[in-house]
Assembly symmetry: C2
Homo-oligomer: 335 residues x 2
């Protein structure tokens, strides 16, 4: 239970702690014979350096903090995996925090992380309140900060973003190509960055084509109830006198399970009667029947991009704010 320190190694090998440090860090020349002596002592005592002490003097902990609204959303899991894998190669360890989507938690956890002297912070899908309040812009003055999605006009921060606009556009164009002329958008009811930008693009597109807009709004977009609500809402609109023949859903849950189940329950055919496209290309879209067409946001790649960017911000001082967009890919399957 008692830790072996550099002192113990120095004593055991009959040299000073300075020399031991040099052997460990290989940053200064050391005589071959003493190097071997020290390395043997390190081995036999099982010494490993206390990273706390090192961090204190080097003013760098080689840690970053990652904040995510949730661990249950596969979108986030993929992004995190992407970040982690790259950062591990850079020699960083990560604090991963989940905020449950609470703005207050974001701030509390970020405080805890900065007190722990993290070298940088990556915030996935920040809450609008904290973005528009200027909180993040202020925070960025004190610590390298990278936001993933959640961008609002006029906010000056470093961002890595999905080009969801392009994804929506591609999906809508595909519907039209396939001869669909009554296109509905299925979204969650809460005000949310990701829903709102999709709706904006949708409205522009529909207006441009001279079509009739039709927005299906369900209450909860991100939990168990989503599926049931989406199914009900889709069945209702399909029974109306001017039902859609195409549905673009804001994520795979509502699209792949909710909308698909609704269409099937009414005995309609997918994709002949109704085409459905989801969003995110999560595993759910691949296992459902029929297999769901969806917009791939390349989440792992998004995470990798974020890792490289934050690393760059932490090491270089070129702190020009950048917004990096990652393109999406429409994946056509059976729906």
């Amino acid at each position: 239970m008692k830790r072996v320190t550099i002192q113990d190694v120095a004593k055991a090998s009959g040299v000073s702690i300075t020399t031991v440090s040099r052997v460990i860090n290989k940053n200064y020349p050391v005589k071959e014979s003493t190097r071997i002596k020290v390395e043997e002592a390190v081995q036999s005592l099982g010494f490993t350096p206390n990273l706390l002490a090192r961090s204190l003097i080097q003013n760098s902990t080689k840690t970053i903090g990652i904040l995510t609204p949730s661990l249950e959303n596969l979108f986030f899991s993929e992004v995190i995996k992407g970040i982690d894998n790259i950062m591990k190669d850079y020699g960083y360890t990560t604090f991963l925090c989940h905020t449950e989507g609470e703005p207050a938690n974001e701030i509390e956890m970020i405080n805890s992380l900065t007190n722990r002297q993290v070298d940088g912070i990556v915030m996935i899908d920040p809450r609008k309140e904290n973005v528009v309040s200027g909180y993040f812009e202020e925070l960025a003055k004190n610590v390298p900060l990278l936001l993933i999605n959640g961008h609002y006009k006029g906010v000056q921060c470093n961002y890595v973003l999905n080009d969801a606009e392009a994804g929506v556009l591609e999906a809508l164009r595909y519907f039209v190509e396939q001869g669909k002329d009554k296109i509905a958008l299925l979204r969650g009811g809460k005000k949310s960055y990701s829903y709102d930008i999709k709706e904006d693009v949708y409205n522009d597109f529909i207006a441009g084509k001279g079509l009739e807009p039709s927005i299906i709004r369900i209450k909860d977009g991100n939990d168990v109830r989503t599926v049931e609500q989406a199914k009900e809402a889709v069945m209702t609109i399909l029974r109306s006198k001017n039902p859609p023949n195409a549905i673009l859903a804001c994520n795979d849950w509502m699209g792949g399970v909710g909308a698909v189940n609704g269409v099937k329950a009414l005995g309609l055919n997918i994709p002949d009667d109704v085409r459905i496209i989801g969003f995110d290309n999560t595993i759910i879209s691949q296992i459902i029947e029929p297999k769901l067409s969806t917009v791939d946001q390349q989440m792992t790649k998004l995470g990798q991009l974020a890792a490289k960017r934050i690393y760059n911000m932490m090491t270089n001082e070129n702190s020009e704010n950048q917004k990096i967009y990652l393109e999406t890919k429409l994946i056509i399957r059976e729906s």
Copy 2:
């Protein structure tokens, strides 16, 4: 970018750093008027203590490490959430690492965590190799260590465990009560703690009842391919000359999506022709049609239990190894 230290506060408020420290930690009496002076300085300078320095001297970082094989498995997400929520209340921050199920990663990441002086480690679903090799028993001598599941006979460690045996038994008994007499077990092919104990209980039960055992073994139990493989395997066995009328699946993916789809594809009725019970009570079991009966492992509770146990281990010195079992609950839905 430059940090405010306790020195700065001391200078600004005209007292010594000792006094500042006392005001911050409220651990010694300080005169009211000086306390206010100091608090004002803390406020105006925006001082927050450097936890690194504090940890170094107190020999405790108030951090724990959590290791999980994967972030994409909802079982693990729930457990982690359970742990985190409790530990946050205790004032701990967590390092969350995912090992991708690689034994070598487990060791590498644990080394990184101990070098960072975590106060304790919680390992979810440890790899068998490291458990039986004695690695964890050795590690536990140096740092409070708690394992979640992955228990093998004779291993002396602190554990929190799902009573999966009881869950399997309850499900099998339910099948029998419902008049099912040809019960199959659907499991992943890899050697794995969680599959193996379920199969053991299954074999005992079936033998005890004088029934015919039938084990459906698919290659991959934990990813995209699972569902397709489970569906195929279930369809094959249902077409055989002695098909099962009940299937117990080792998780909700194979059970809720794979097996259900297989049965439906053959035009059979659930539950009249075939009853299906899954495992884990993940969200998938609630959104599938028909809604899946499943064995709830109470994952959040499992995590909370783990948090309380590791906290106890870190604070008290009563380090008797304990194995704590958490009961399961059979949830009957439509399948």
